[in-house]
């Protein structure tokens, strides 16, 4: 299973990297003489368009590859942004406590009352929708768990002897956080980040399905599904191809992160 999952992700990543080679035409080019070409396994299909073409004559496989590009880039950047914001807030509020911790707790609660869809809507009316705003919306709605887990770990870590020794050695707060606390919380952050990765892929697809995501000519799996939905009964492959790609990619990401968590989280292994 893990090997299969890993190879799916590698395949999507390769497709994303090599998308310009897979596509004969530039992204978004329309060819109305080649609309709704059937896939290669049907009698009238050809290897020219292995998965056929859509209602505007665009090659489905090439669009899947370009969609993978958006999916992976959005997922990686939003998870990175979310974990950075969350870790920073958690480190500062956990180490210094006091009023700064109270302020952080209120900000976290305010953020919890703004789930993804509300943040995305607010951002779209203010800034329009683009690659950057999708990343921002996903990151803003997923940094809280990072802040919580880092804060709770820092609260324990800072009472260890090595922190007291660092204080005696004359190090200031920021230096202690950077040199002695941060390296100790990073493993948990990595596990949580990997768990958020699959979720971020789904969030991106959902937003672009609602046309709150990246805008044409950029293409995303969610957007492809939304566009071909009227062909669901007549040409189901147009909808199923991006839908299956999306589900299999997210599933693979989740399987791999479960594996990573089981390996890195000692509390779980002792239970079994």
């Amino acid at each position: 299973m893990p090997i299969l999952a890993a190879s799916v992700l590698v395949l999507v990543a390769l497709g994303a990297l090599l998308a310009p080679l897979l596509a004969r035409e530039p992204l978004g080019a329309v060819d109305l003489s080649q609309t709704l070409v059937p896939p290669v396994w049907s009698s009238s299909g050809s290897w020219l368009h292995p998965l056929g073409t859509d209602q505007l004559g665009r090659d489905t496989l090439a669009r899947l590859a370009y969609g993978g590009r958006v999916s992976l880039l959005v997922a990686v950047s939003s998870v990175f942004l979310a974990s950075s914001i969350g870790t920073l807030v958690g480190l500062i509020s956990g180490y210094f406590e006091g009023w700064i911790d109270v302020v952080a707790a209120r900000i976290i609660e305010a953020q919890l009352s703004l789930p993804l869809i509300l943040v995305a809507l607010a951002i779209v009316i203010a800034l329009g929708s683009s690659f950057q705003t999708v990343v921002l919306a996903i990151a803003l709605s997923s940094w809280v768990p990072f802040a919580r887990i880092v804060r709770s770990e820092v609260l324990v870590l800072k009472h260890h002897d090595f922190v007291d020794l660092a204080v005696v050695a004359g190090l200031g707060g920021p230096a202690i956080i950077r040199r002695h606390i941060l390296p100790n919380v990073l493993p948990s952050v990595v596990v949580l980040a990997s768990q958020n990765f699959g979720q971020a892929i789904i969030y991106e697809a959902s937003l672009s399905y609602l046309s709150l995501g990246v805008q044409p000519p950029q293409v995303s799996w969610g957007f492809m599904i939304a566009q071909s939905r009227i062909y669901l009964a007549s040409v189901p492959l147009l909808v199923l191809a991006p839908a299956v790609t999306l589900a299999v990619t997210a599933l693979s990401a989740n399987i791999l992160c479960d594996l990573l968590r089981d390996r890195l989280d000692p509390t779980l292994t002792t239970l079994q």
């Binding site: 009352s113 869809i117 607010a122 779209v124 669901l232 839908a243 999306l246 589900a247 997210a250």
Partner: protein, 308 residues
């Protein structure tokens, strides 16, 4: 208890102010809604005129004051599509969305928790394997894909249920089933791990040693302590559920808040979108408040932790 309630209420109000400030800062300071409202090609004169008409050229302190006053007076502007106050337009669609999300949460809990408890009780048994597979799939497949698969099977192939609309009970089945998959998957995973954790506790061994049967141990000793994390998770799931509800409403043409807001984004009816964001945030603040209060009722330890 009273002191806890008061503290918690003040905290909720602070959150509300923060959320309001956040949405104000986003729309009035960082972004430029005027740009979003103008056609693709516009002249600088048009820009200046629209900016003036909407009041965005006033000092931002004045704008902030009016925004906050509007919030208190339930006045967040008038919808350009419906010609009615934006808050009223949003509230009129709220029951539909609440019904959809509430139904899905209920189904998710009623199906997910029993499966999760049984799965955790017998790790690696048949229920465990099936339950975990369903939960893993449910968390990897987004709502609109589930919806499309369900439509393909039940509406296109079998012609059993309508593919969209709202009103009769048949129209409710597919949307609620679609949306229920998300909380159900989470409940299975969580109930399963909570039960496994409790099963390892010494008091379970004691209950077994007393000679209780498996079923007695499960019902009287395992389920109750396992439920607390499940409740927490349930309230956290509501945010995911709302996002899912918007998607589900779009696929099944359900006339709830989600469809309203997406149409409003498309037609650039900004006051409706703003009103929906604020109303949604208030809803979540109230839900978080109620969750915390119900905890304090259940668990006396929380009441004494007021200080923070």
């Amino acid at each position: 208890m009273l002191r806890y309630l008061a503290t918690r209420l003040v905290q909720g109000l602070i959150s509300l102010c923060l959320v309001a400030t956040f949405s104000f800062a986003l729309t009035h300071l960082i972004g430029d809604p005027v740009l979003q409202l103008l056609p693709a090609e516009y002249t600088p004169e048009q820009y200046v005129q629209l900016r003036h008409e909407l009041g965005y050229d006033r000092p931002w302190v004045d704008q902030f004051r009016d925004f906050m006053l509007g919030l208190v007076n339930r006045n967040l502007g008038t919808s350009t599509i419906y010609g009615a106050p934006a808050v009223d337009v949003v509230l009129s669609r709220l029951p539909t969305t609440a019904g959809l999300a509430g139904g899905a949460l209920a189904v998710g809990i009623l199906v997910g928790i029993p499966i999760g408890v049984l799965a955790g009780h017998r790790p690696y048994g048949i229920i465990d394997r099936v339950g975990v597979t369903v939960a893993t799939l449910g968390q990897a497949i987004p709502a609109f894909v589930t919806a499309i698969i369900l439509i393909l099977i039940f509406a296109v192939d079998l012609r059993l249920l309508p593919s969209g609309g709202w009103g009769t009970w048949q129209t409710g089945i597919l949307p609620i089933a679609t949306l229920a998959l998300v909380p159900m998957s989470g409940m299975i995973r969580l109930a399963r791990s909570a039960v496994r954790e409790v099963m390892a506790m010494p008091f379970i061994t004691l209950a077994r040693a007393k000679g209780l049967t498996d079923a007695q141990v499960l019902i009287t000793h395992v389920v109750r302590p396992s439920l607390l994390p499940v409740i927490t998770f349930g309230s956290l799931q509501l945010g995911v559920l709302l996002t899912g509800a918007v998607v589900t409403e779009t696929v099944f043409a359900v006339p709830g808040v989600g469809r309203l807001v997406l149409d409003a984004v498309r037609m650039r009816d900004h006051s409706v979108v703003e009103a929906a964001v604020i109303v949604g945030a208030i809803g979540f603040i109230v839900i978080n408040f109620l969750t915390d209060v119900s905890y304090a009722i259940v668990d006396p330890r929380i009441r004494s932790r007021v200080q923070r």
